[in-house]
Symmetry: C2
Amino acid sequence: MNLKKLSEILGLSQTTVSRALNGYPEVNEETRIRVQAAAAKHGYRPNSRAKGLATGRSLVIGHVIPTSSQHEMVNPIFGDFVAGAARAYAQHNYDMMFTHAPDTSIEESYRSLFNRGVVDGIVLQGPKVNEPRIPVLSRLGVPFIVHGRSTGTQVPYDWIDVNNQRSFERATQFLIDLGHRRIALINGLEEMDFAWRRRNGYLTALKKAELTPDPALLRSAEMTEIYGYQTACDILKLDDPPTAILASSIISAIGVRRALEESGLKMGRDISVIAHDDELSYMRNGQDVPIFTATRSSVRHAGELAAEMLIERINAPDDPPKSCLLEAELVVGNSTGPVRQRS
Amino acid sequence: MNLKKLSEILGLSQTTVSRALNGYPEVNEETRIRVQAAAAKHGYRPNSRAKGLATGRSLVIGHVIPTSSQHEMVNPIFGDFVAGAARAYAQHNYDMMFTHAPDTSIEESYRSLFNRGVVDGIVLQGPKVNEPRIPVLSRLGVPFIVHGRSTGTQVPYDWIDVNNQRSFERATQFLIDLGHRRIALINGLEEMDFAWRRRNGYLTALKKAELTPDPALLRSAEMTEIYGYQTACDILKLDDPPTAILASSIISAIGVRRALEESGLKMGRDISVIAHDDELSYMRNGQDVPIFTATRSSVRHAGELAAEMLIERINAPDDPPKSCLLEAELVVGNSTGPVRQRS
DNA sequence: CGTATCATTCAAAGCGCTTTGAAAATTTAA
DNA sequence: TTAAATTTTCAAAGCGCTTTGAATGATACG
């Protein structure tokens, strides 16, 4: 069923039928009702390709996933972010599109996606320090929003981010206040901007307390469970092991916990652990009492806000750049406690 | 830059340019090279809406996510499956589209997605027992593939699935062989087909061993960490607690482990645990030695195969129905051992 | 040299929709 | 009653591409 057939059935022109369905005022109310009824009856759905071709809009938002980063899409954090975004898209009648792009040709991929008219806007996830994709998108004139920020990037752009530096500074400070002096940071990949900022927050807190950072306690990698486990095992073997650990994600914190338990250490008593909690749906940080003391900020909520901001941008391409900085809460659980004198 | 402009620049007709770029034989090789060079130089990208309109193909695969199931997309299993699929799509030049659909109007959503010409095919994830969406898609004549199967569905359809029944029967059998008689099943939602089959496998093994299932040991819910934790806590409080636990996902198994550790029980010695391991990228089941004895099958690989099968189907709509049944391995880790006499 | 054959190229129609500018039908004003 | 204003409907152009059917130029054959 298409517009032509429908209008023939109704004995009206395509123009009138189209207008009736799209809510234009210059059509008789009686006719409109007749048209709507017929459309419903015959299950008429305007072809979105044709519609897009005619209007220049696709009502689709693109998410581009670098092929190399095998992990991007598979990352539970990604899943929650996207789920939040999907919610907002649905409300505004947008669909969501994912493209894999070989990172040899990121610029090309973006240009392609936008120029081919596939999408109206793009969400950029997981920005690195000096993220090259940002200037690319900016130059292309594509409406886009960054989840996170990119230190060192000069061009203006829309973003939404958690105050990673501040939250990790606070967490570190919290541990220092409990008497901890040797604090390990099990961080994400530090080429990623969020990890870089967290590291800075951690270092800032140490500095303020006049503590010297120990490179042996600073680790960085993709935030898997295994990584948390191995790193913790590793760190505990040091001559002078830390009394507290800061983990960049609940997932690696779970690995840390596994390592601690294997070593017979009790969290909160023998060693303190703070994790960053993105409030992943499948990995809640306990129920009433948090499992881990944590810096908490819902990545799902961030996804929802990001989508809203992007849609606003699409509707008002010339507004000045927007941004949104979310503060993470510091929630206290049982995984932290005063430093314990080593026996 | 569009076809018209490009052909004007080249002094050729749109026909020739189009053919040159799409590899048709009836164009002079010399001309083709000239055209390709110009296309590259001007960054020409055919508009996919227009292309789709002209060809009737969109090179997009749709994944529909019921709005109600807040968890679908957020489920790490979903993420891994989709990552696998994305890989295959990329290879065949397909993009991937997600739509949220209110479950009040699933049929409508599918019809819409396909009839609007947005997608060439659809992946149906998380089928339930007697999944109503399957006959709907079948009737619409949309190419589609089901990840999983649906007990009770009569119409033929393409599917790819793990042999859930068999793998859980084997796992249960394995525990019985170790002397366990009271075995708990911490299952997924049993309206889901996979969970239903796992339950059957479990019951079959019990039956073969002439053991009577105890309803108190049969639990079912969304497979989160918290659920695993709470259920395990709950079950351990029974007068006659189980000596072994079968968990339907690594994620809930992690919750189970947390509960066991809190109770001071050692996995593999005091109590045995087997989990189903989807080989989630961020939640590997240990490295060399598995953390959990597990039934193992990569959901990511399944995603890749599913995508391949769907693309085949799109290219050959009239082939007979295809299916693919994967067998899960049973890998033995340290979480299982012979039953221990209760003191 | 004239005709048949092949290799290239082209103009134009069509995909299904929106939208412009004009025409018909109706109402209002003079 | 007629002209002007308003409401309602329409034909046709256009979005950017593919593809059909015809035309052109080059080559081969008798």
